[in-house]
């Protein structure tokens, strides 16, 4: 899985490209945690290029949400595809992340 990273202001935007499954999910989790520690939590996940996520992928999103939540922060998920959104809603995990229509909206939430 390719994970693109770019800075928008002081916010780091991570864009995983491809399905969030199995081992790729663990790699994505590590990248997110590393970026969170580096930026004091100013992280936005651009999920526009994630076509779907399996159970491990959803579990990683849950773990990220809990890890950020312990520090009073939250997982900011931007432009999630319909499939990913439905998966989150069906597993009742949708509330674990803040959902934004696009990346700029997610970035503006840090203002």
């Amino acid at each position: 899985m390719e994970i693109q990273e770019r800075a928008q202001g002081a916010v780091t935007v991570l864009k995983p490209v491809g399905p969030l499954c199995a081992d790729d999910a663990d790699g994505f989790r590590s990248r997110c945690m590393e970026a969170t520690a580096r930026t004091l939590g100013r992280l936005v996940v651009d999920a526009s290029a994630v076509p779907y996520a399996d159970s491990r992928g959803l579990e990683v999103l849950l773990e990220l949400s809990e890890a950020l939540g312990q520090a009073g922060q939250s997982l900011k998920l931007c432009a999630a595809t319909e499939t990913v959104r439905e998966a989150l809603e069906l597993t009742e995990l949708s509330h674990l992340a803040e959902h934004y229509e696009d990346v700029p909206s997610g970035v503006r939430s840090f203002l």
């Binding site: 202001g9 916010v11 520690a37 580096r38 922060q73 203002l111």
Partner: protein, 612 residues
């Protein structure tokens, strides 16, 4: 006066604490010394009685012996032998008087020669004797005997001897008594020391209890020396336990009242942990009493390490520590804030800008300080961006406005001018006015995007129509620079969903840049490739190119390349920034591949069938 008051007054007169032991020791010492003195006096008196009795027995024995010998010797008229015997007995027995007086007068024998009557002993003399004189004076033993002399008369024998007390014997007895007393005092002193050591802890604890009754609560003030014994250790342990219980009680009360409790399981704790800004509560011992999760994340410490940690270890900034100390000391009563750059992990990079807001607050356990930590990095970046935008915009607007003003001044000059010069001036004014319009339009678009207020009118966008129009718009400009402008379209271009005007603006900026930075005689080509998911519009040129270091920077607002050739070309630095933002708003992106002096290729990727 009540009974209780009387008891208290009497109680104050009584010794307490260590003085109890001292008083007891002194009392025992006094009794022992008194008994020793009484014993010594009794011993001395007994000794004196014995000496007197023995002397009296001695003098009586000498008197009896002398009386017997006097009766015999005087019966034979041997006075000289009697006198010799008296002298010898007196010398041997320490007599001071040894006198024999005949009835009717006449001393026959005496130690004093002047008393002895001269002349021969009478043949006969009377028997009646005068009454003996009164008793002997103090310190003298006296014995008196009547001596009947057969056929001649009676005589009176008087014997006296002083009582001599042996001084050495008395001194030894007193020294012995003194030694016994001294040994007794030493034993008493040792017993006193032992008791004092044993009871010292109890005395100290009693004083501590008296301090408690007067309101003292500090464990430091109420503690006693550990070397006083096991009771002291147990007392100190009790104080420590009580102090811990009191602190816990205060903490629980504070947490209940303030709604801030470290542990989980309560609404207050959950509220505190849900805060996205860090919260620290620091007590007057400069110890962190409470820290929520966000504080740990922002200070880059483990939350477990923060709770109970020293302030200096929790917060690295001396400035913040100083403000907290000021709040705790009462010098600062108002809220104070300071912004600091937080170092990244390992201190290598800058993690962000943190704002510390410190406010003193009253707590159950004394003065405390509330510290709120906020991550304001993005705000500061936005501020810097906004300030830079204003500065750059001012600069960009000033240049065309200056040109317009100069040429208007020239046109207003009443001096005669050639028609070509007037036409050139009007053309410059027109050009600069369009430039102003474009700059203002770009700035407004950027502002709208940054503010999130840019309206996107979703519609079908046919690139196979839009791109030829674009080519047509720029054909004249390309001809002026002798640039070969080509457009290659595939047989079928998918229709994309988005805002036609905004996409046109983005493509306009990309194509305009290509023509602007391509030297005369160069080429610019626009091509389109498509698949079911996206459409890529590639704009390639043979221009001056972009160095690798600047290939990302050119998409920032107002960024102008450091290439000297770029300085000669007018531009606002907004075109590519605006184009990328617009395309990203459509879910796509713009990428660039370029080599200096070889040319550049900008690829505008637009997803098919999706718009934000």
């Amino acid at each position: 006066m009540g009974t209780g008051k009387l008891k208290r007054r009497v109680g104050r007169l009584l010794p307490t604490g260590d003085s109890v032991i001292a008083w007891a020791g002194l009392s025992v010492a006094g009794v022992v010394l008194s008994m020793l003195a009484a014993f010594a006096w009794w011993a001395m008196q007994s000794h004196r009685g014995g000496v007197e009795h023995a002397r009296r027995e001695q003098v009586n024995a000498v008197a009896s012996l002398m009386a017997h010998n006097a009766a015999v010797l005087l019966g034979g008229s041997d006075v000289a032998a009697l006198r010799s015997l008296a002298a010898t007995a007196s010398a041997e027995n320490g007599l001071t008087v040894c006198r024999l007086t005949l009835a009717g007068g006449g001393v026959v024998v005496s130690l004093s020669a002047s008393e002895v009557a001269t002349g021969p002993l009478p043949e006969r003399w009377q028997h009646a004797l005068e009454a003996p004189e009164a008793g002997a004076p103090a310190g003298v033993v006296r014995a008196v005997r009547t001596v009947p002399i057969a056929g001649r008369g009676s005589a009176l024998l008087e014997v006296e001897g002083p009582i001599e007390y042996p001084f050495a014997t008395a001194w030894e007895a007193q020294a012995t008594v003194a030694a016994i007393g001294l040994v007794g005092l030493c034993v008493l002193w040792l017993v006193y020391r032992g008791l004092r050591r044993r009871l010292g802890a109890l005395s100290a604890i009693r004083w501590a209890l008296a301090s408690v009754a007067q309101g003292e609560r500090s464990g430091d003030a109420l503690g006693v020396r550990e070397d006083l014994g096991p009771e002291a250790s147990q007392w100190n342990t009790l104080l420590t336990t009580l102090d811990a219980l009191r602190r816990r009680s205060v903490e629980e009360r504070m947490n209940e009242v303030g709604g801030l409790r470290e542990g989980r399981g309560s609404d207050a704790a959950a509220t505190c942990d849900a805060l996205w800004m860090g919260v620290l509560v620091v007590d007057d011992r400069l110890s962190v009493r409470l820290a929520n999760g966000a504080a740990g994340a922002l200070l880059q410490r483990r939350r477990e390490d923060l709770a109970g940690a020293d302030l200096a270890k929790a917060v690295a900034s001396a400035e913040v520590v100083g403000l907290i100390k000021s709040a705790l000391s009462g010098d600062a009563r108002q809220r104070r804030a300071v912004e600091l750059k937080a170092a990244g992990e390992g201190g290598r990079a800058e993690a962000g800008v943190l704002r510390f807001t410190i406010k003193p607050m009253a707590g159950g356990a004394g003065r405390q300080a509330l510290v709120v930590i906020e991550d304001v990095t993005q705000q500061r970046v936005a501020d810097e961006s906004r300030n830079g935008f204003v500065a750059a915009a001012t600069h960009e607007l000033r240049t065309p406005l200056t040109n317009i003003r100069l040429y208007i001044d020239e046109l207003l000059d009443p001096a005669p001018k050639e028609a070509r010069a007037q036409e050139a001036a009007i053309n410059v004014i027109s050009h600069e006015a369009r430039r102003l319009e474009r700059i203002v339009s770009d700035m407004l678009s950027v502002s709208e995007i940054e503010a999130g207020s840019m309206a996107m009118h979703k519609d079908d966008v046919r690139l196979d129509t839009l791109l030829p129009e674009l080519e047509e718009d720029y054909r004249a400009q390309a001809s002026e620079k002798h640039i070969r402008l080509t457009l290659e379209l595939p047989p079928k271009v998918p229709v994309v969903q988005g805002d036609r005007d905004k996409l046109a603006l983005a493509l306009h900026n990309v194509l305009g840049n290509a023509l602007k930075y391509t030297p005369e005689g160069g080429r610019v080509s626009v091509s389109v490739t498509a698949d079911p998911k996206r459409v890529d519009v590639s704009v390639s040129d043979s221009g001056i190119g972009v160095s690798p270091d600047e290939q990302e920077l050119i998409f920032q607002k107002f960024y102008r390349s450091k290439d000297a050739r770029v300085r000669t070309i007018t531009g606002s630095g907004l075109g590519l920034a605006l184009a990328r933002e617009v395309v990203r708003r459509h879910g796509g992106d713009i990428t660039v591949q370029s080599q200096v002096d070889q040319g550049s290729t900008f690829v505008v990727s637009i997803p098919v069938g999706r718009a934000a």
